[in-house]
């Protein structure tokens, strides 16, 4: 599927080359299924700037591709919180001043001074949400407010579980389940984590990220890790799916639109960021992707059902979500080894 999305991107790229050799162009590198085409069309209609989009399916794939092809190909990208830090360390980000964006003041206060971009010098908020799991309640009707569902599943769910094929989120989620730090150097903790995952894997059916919604909606999997908005889309196709906020904790993330270094069209990139800070446009993304916008004043433009959807409204007694942490290189190598052992 990831090949498919890349290919779609390539086709779109070549087609728009043919169409618009002369027109001004904005090239964005974005997650799959994360922005409605109508919104891109609206941007083109308002500004006259053609939009070309390629897609990726993980923060790591975004980084790998930018590293391999170099900067200067894309104007903006949409990394997750921790990846903003990594990309800044890699020197991949350009800075801007608040005065360059007329809608800068629309950024919600809680997303203005964030640990990964204090005062927002490289990025503006896109959408935020959580990573947890869903369960098909027709298959299993017991308690699902625990990550035991994934790592120590009841008999009904054994062999019917899909796992996100992204080492970072999956290992962080497992660490929360075990109550150990995300970037541990402790031998016994890491060995326990690895052993727990090896045991749990026996009950898993597949590893799939961009198909995480499809496997649940089709019934191939009866439980599966998923991002909350993607889960809301799955529930729209299969009503018996329920998103869980497990008591051991779950992951939260905040994606941001970053201004890339050596952007071929920096002005268009800033116009696009400004465009996405318009409440109406931010709400259009939310209505499509089913996550939550970090922009003030979106409420009046949101679909009514989103305001009350279970995926976007954790129960009052749910713990707070946890961000994925960035580990030091030598620690990261240990987690890479655990992942390889898991999939060997």
């Amino acid at each position: 599927m990831r090949k498919f999305t890349t290919m779609l991107g390539a086709v779109a790229l070549s087609m728009s080359f043919a169409q618009s050799a002369m027109a001004e162009k904005l090239t964005i590198y974005h997650w799959f299924e994360y922005i409605p085409q109508e919104l891109l069309n609206k941007f083109t209609a308002e500004t006259g700037i053609e939009v070309v989009m390629d897609t990726y399916d993980s923060n790591e794939a975004l980084l790998a591709n930018l590293k391999a092809t170099g900067m200067g190909n894309y104007d903006v990208a949409v990394p997750g919180d921790y990846m903003v830090n990594i990309m800044r360390d890699e020197g991949m980000l350009d800075t801007f001043t608040p005065s360059e964006l007329s809608n800068f003041s629309n950024i919600q206060d809680q997303w203005l001074n964030v640990s990964f971009d204090m005062g927002r010098q490289n990025s503006v908020p896109y959408q935020w949400g959580s990573t947890s799991f869903m369960v098909d309640r027709e298959v299993y009707s017991g308690d699902i407010r625990t990550a035991d569902i994934i790592f120590n599943p009841p008999a009904e769910l054994k062999g019917k579980i899909n796992i996100l094929d992204t080492a970072g989120e999956t290992l962080a989620f497992a660490s929360l389940y075990m109550g150990i730090p995300q970037c541990s150097n402790d031998r016994s903790e890491l060995k326990k984590l690895s052993a727990m995952l090896q045991e749990a894997k026996v009950n898993w059916a597949s590893f799939n990220s961009d198909g995480a919604k499809d496997v649940l909606a089709s019934g191939d999997a009866a439980a599966g890790m998923i991002w909350n908005g993607f889960g809301a889309k799955a529930r729209a196709e299969r009503a018996s799916l329920e998103y869980s906020y497990p008591k051991e904790g779950y992951l939260v993330w905040a994606d941001s639109v970053v201004l890339l270094k050596d952007a071929p069209n920096r002005d268009a990139a800033l116009k696009f960021m400004d465009f996405l800070l318009e409440p109406e446009n931010a709400a259009a993304v939310t209505n499509y992707a089913r996550y939550t916008a970090g922009v003030k004043g979106v409420e009046e433009f949101l679909d009514a059902e989103l305001v009350t959807s279970p995926e976007n409204n954790p129960p009052a007694d749910a713990p707070a979500g946890t961000f994925v942490e960035v580990c030091a290189p030598e620690t990261q190598a240990l987690y890479d080894a655990i992942w390889t052992q898991l999939k060997k």
Partner: protein, 313 residues
């Protein structure tokens, strides 16, 4: 075509004639250019990268290092301070991929050989029609075919629904996310690579030999194994190589149909370049090791061929 060659050959221009006769290597120039630019340079790049130092999260540092090969062959424990022992993880991944490719090759042969034989024994004017039928599914992109296969064999897909409604089974047969599913995917992806070269060989086979064997009271099976198969062996071997090698590096079928639970060589390499590990030298080293193994196999095969040909003359 024949007319053109005759005409040109009659001219007195020697260079022209030698081009047409294929004596001048200039005809190979486009092929050499493409192989040089698109194959040799990337492979050399990989070879160089496999001996460099890993940069954190992708990329390389230009310092010589054997770290990547060390990681492949030696296990020094999770923390790297235990005495080295042989690392079975990656050997295991290679072994699994080889087995999988071997099975795909065998299944493709078992189905592909009779198919090719059938087509080659039709009336000459209808053969191209049968070949045409074989190629029809391949007008569709490999990814689309693999995804369709997934829809077909999933627990509540058409096959299980049909078997259930027919009362043939009570519980859906779990096919998706199994090795069986991977085999189906590989088989479906690479079958024509087996059928076409075998067909080309059988088409050139002189069926008078089979008739002669029958006249000498050879049974059909003996004729098949002693006369037909040895005669069309080059086609069979070409077909086997064409199926085996792409199956070895396949990752679409293992990913989509097998559930990506276990690394194959292809997905192991992909993870090094695209995943969180970001270990480019290791990914390059795995590719170089795979390349070396395949080259050794092909060299042995080529030597055996040469010896056989020498013995024949």
């Amino acid at each position: 075509m024949a007319g053109i060659i005759n005409q040109t050959s009659k001219t007195t221009d020697g260079a022209q004639t030698s081009i047409v006769d294929g004596k001048q290597h200039i005809l190979l120039l486009p092929a050499w250019l493409i192989i040089g630019v698109l194959l040799v340079i990337p492979v050399i790049l990989m070879l160089v990268y496999s001996f460099l130092t890993q940069d954190f999260r992708g990329g390389v540092i230009w310092e010589f290092s054997l770290e990547a090969y060390d990681q492949f062959f030696f296990d020094r424990g999770l923390f790297g301070d235990e005495p080295p022992s042989i690392e079975w993880t990656y050997i295991g991944i290679f072994w699994r991929s080889f087995l999988q490719a071997l099975f795909a090759m065998i299944f493709c042969f078992l189905i592909g050989f009779p198919t090719a034989y059938f087509i080659a024994t039709r009336a000459p004017q209808s053969r191209s029609f049968w070949l045409f039928l074989v190629t029809i599914p391949y007008w569709v992109n490999l990814l689309i075919r693999t995804v369709s296969m997934k829809f077909l064999i999933r627990d509540n897909g058409p096959i299980n629904t049909w078997l259930l409604s027919g009362g043939i089974i009570d519980e859906p047969i779990s096919m998706i996310n199994t090795n069986f599913a991977i085999q189906i995917g590989l088989f479906y992806s690479y079958l024509p690579f087996m059928v076409l070269p075998i067909y080309a060989s059988i088409e050139r086979y002189n069926f008078a030999l089979s008739e002669a064997a029958a006249d000498l009271y050879s049974s059909r099976w003996v004729t098949l194994f002693k006369i037909v198969i040895p005669s069309v062996k080059p086609g069979i071997i070409a077909g086997c190589i064409l199926v085996f090698i792409p199956s070895l590096g396949a990752f679409l079928a293992p990913d989509l149909l097998g559930g990506a639970k276990n690394f194959m060589i292809g997905s192991l390499v992909e993870e090094q370049f695209k995943g969180q590990a970001g270990d480019w030298p290791f990914g390059a080293a795995v590719s170089m090791i795979l390349l070396s193994i395949i080259m050794v196999i092909l060299l042995f095969y080529a030597r055996a061929q040469i010896r056989q040909n020498d013995g024949g003359h």
